[in-house]
């Protein structure tokens, strides 16, 4: 579904070599030390950062030269997924048509998406008057109305408490199964990967490695870089 082969990203003296393929309908977690380039990897797929060398394929098509909007994907950021001057409903509606000219069916779609993430009652509220979790639900609702096959999540729940985080993760997992999304999620929490991911893409030392099955990743204690990253972390 996503394929980046022998690609190179350069910004200043930061370099990232990428060799990643992600199968359709899978849930891949991106793990690695801070500053290794996990978010950069997502930004490259989404089209926010250009490659120095190589190409990005999504859904079988070369999207390297395509602007972000024309790529078949939705990205959710850690924060600022909403426009503060627009209410929740309108923020979701932007995912249907940025002009905000929606027909009846599209409006209904927005209502349904909000209902699906449990925000029906807060539809007319502005993001500033909502909690962090509720704001991220707006982003999830927008992901639903956009209905693009690939979903990129950049630490979307990092700012939430452990209970809420687990709940939101489970919800994302459900949506993924329901819609058949291919999900790539950057996270700082190995247990998140353990809980929802089929595979782990490890980014460290200037290299984004091909994803491996989650179980295999956590078993790879003989790999010095992985062992170093996981440190004292243990599966529970």
């Amino acid at each position: 579904m996503i394929r980046i082969e022998q690609a190179l990203y350069v910004y200043g003296d930061f370099r990232l070599a990428i060799d990643v393929a992600v199968p359709r309908g899978s849930f891949t977690a991106v793990l690695g030390p801070s500053g290794a380039g996990k978010s950069t990897l997502l930004a490259i797929i989404a089209g926010f950062e250009p490659l120095r060398r190589g190409k990005v394929e999504v859904a079988g098509a070369d999207v390297t030269a395509l602007p972000p909007a024309q790529r078949p994907l939705t990205m959710v950021f850690q924060d600022n997924n909403t426009f503060a001057h627009l209410d929740a409903w309108t923020n979701v509606a932007l995912g249907v048509a940025p002009s905000l000219r929606l027909d009846e069916a599209q409006r209904q779609m927005v209502d349904e998406a909000l209902a699906r993430v449990g925000l029906s009652a807060l539809a007319r509220r502005k993001p500033g008057d909502m909690s962090g979790g509720e704001r991220q639900r707006i982003a999830l609702a927008r992901m639903l109305v956009r209905n693009r096959p690939v979903v990129l999540l950049d630490e979307p729940f990092a700012a939430l408490g452990p209970g809420l985080r687990a709940e939101m993760l489970a919800e994302v997992k459900d949506l993924q199964r329901e819609r058949g999304f291919t999900v790539v999620m950057v996270t700082h929490q190995p247990e998140d990967a353990r809980a929802v991911a089929d595979a782990v893409c490890f980014v460290a030392g200037g290299v984004a490695r091909p994803p491996v099955a989650t179980a295999a990743f956590f078993a790879a204690r003989n790999d010095a870089a992985i062992a170093d990253y996981l440190g004292g972390w243990r599966d529970s």
Binding site: F48, A69, D79, N80, F83, P98, S99
Partner: protein, 513 residues
Amino acid sequence: MAERHTITALPGGLGAALWVAAAVAAGLLPLLSLAFQAGGPTLDGAVWAALRFTLVQAGLSTLLSVVPAVPLARALARRQFTGRGLLLRLLAVPLALPAIVAVLAVVSVYGANGVLGGFMPVYGLPGILLTHVFFNLPLATRLVLEALATTPPEAHRLAAQLGFSDNDVLRHVDGPVLRARLPAIAGLVFLLCAASFVTVLTLGGGPAATTLEVAIYQALRMDFDPARAAGLSLLQLALSLTLVALAGRMMLAQASQAPLRLRQQRFDGHSPAARALDAGMLLLAVAVVAPPVVALVAAGLSHVALSAALFSALGWSLAIGGVAALFATVLGYGLAGAAARLPQRRMWFEGVALAGVMVPPAVMATGWFLIFGRNGTSRAELFLLVVALNALMALPFVVAVLAPQLARLAAAHDRLCAALGISGWARLRLIDLPALRRPLAQALLLAGIMAMGDLTAITLFGSGGILTLPALVYQQMGHYRGNLAAGTALVLAVVIFLAAWLAERLGAEDDPH
């Protein structure tokens, strides 16, 4: 959550506000006391004509400066091109030119003998407006650019992903920021144009072009009529306060969203229409600013006399500019910090910062002289007075630059810092200074070049052994040395250009990825 931050933000903000209040009181009270000895402040019929002309010319100047500043700043924000840095530095030059230098530069382009002579009438309202745009379009552009830089980087990524058209970006991404900051920027430009003096008189064509500031100057200087000067000053103050209150009402509370970890990137502006608009705006900026600057360079190039007087003036200008910039930035940091943490009192703190453009400097200087200078001032005291007055006059620019950034920073870090118990000096050094490098460099630059180019303070207190570059320009002009003056003005322009370059270097952020 707001209460705790209130407590930590207040001392700095209140301290700065108190200093400004004391400075303004020291300026106004002696004059008022003189006025009451003479029977109380007075106004006469001629004032209303001056008031009307002030409103008309300042209103039009503001419109013509601020409206194009928006597309121009957007063009600068979303285009990377060779010469962008050069253009930004060029845009800094008008900010510090003494009015008469700018007027002569404008005249040598559009005047009787100018390259573009006859292109438009230079004397009367058109010339005043042209010169005010030459001064204030760059200023407004810089401030709008600063405001646009406070947009969370995700907003642009989101816009790009959702397929926003350029209009959508203007509406949903830049629009809210502009609505939050534009009234303050326009208010500042209006007050500056209302207080413009040399430009209005020199190009005005006659006494029909009389502003309140001219009337105050006349009352204070030629007539030495404290009652009338006080009446006029109070009128100007009332006008300014009304304006600030209006701007405050128009300003939406800026919803400050947090992180500072992404690099600012924009993805809009790829349509042919946007490209054409941006190219047009950049050309317009060059067309407005470059010809007078080129004229200034051409006039001065063969007349730079590297005399002891020039070096001494350069030294004084740098000293006054540097110290005043530091002082104004410290004050502005306090005021903007308090405004960021007390959103409901925001206009109050930002309004205090505008004191320097609300009270005519001639009034301030007279009051301060009566309090501090009666028994003669030493050069050191004079230096301090000049620095203090310049800092007061530069404060509005500092706050205009820092306020949006501090609002963003407060939202991002206040809770965490409170949680970790990081406050005071440690907070400043570890958290705020690194995050504020670019805006602080901008604030220092703006304050520094305003102070360096200022002639008001030094003229009002008397030279007393301190001769700055602008004062030297005037002195040379006063002795028939127009050519030497052109050379000195060129040196001043070069110093500003270099200062702008230095500020860019100082402000360069380490890019996160």
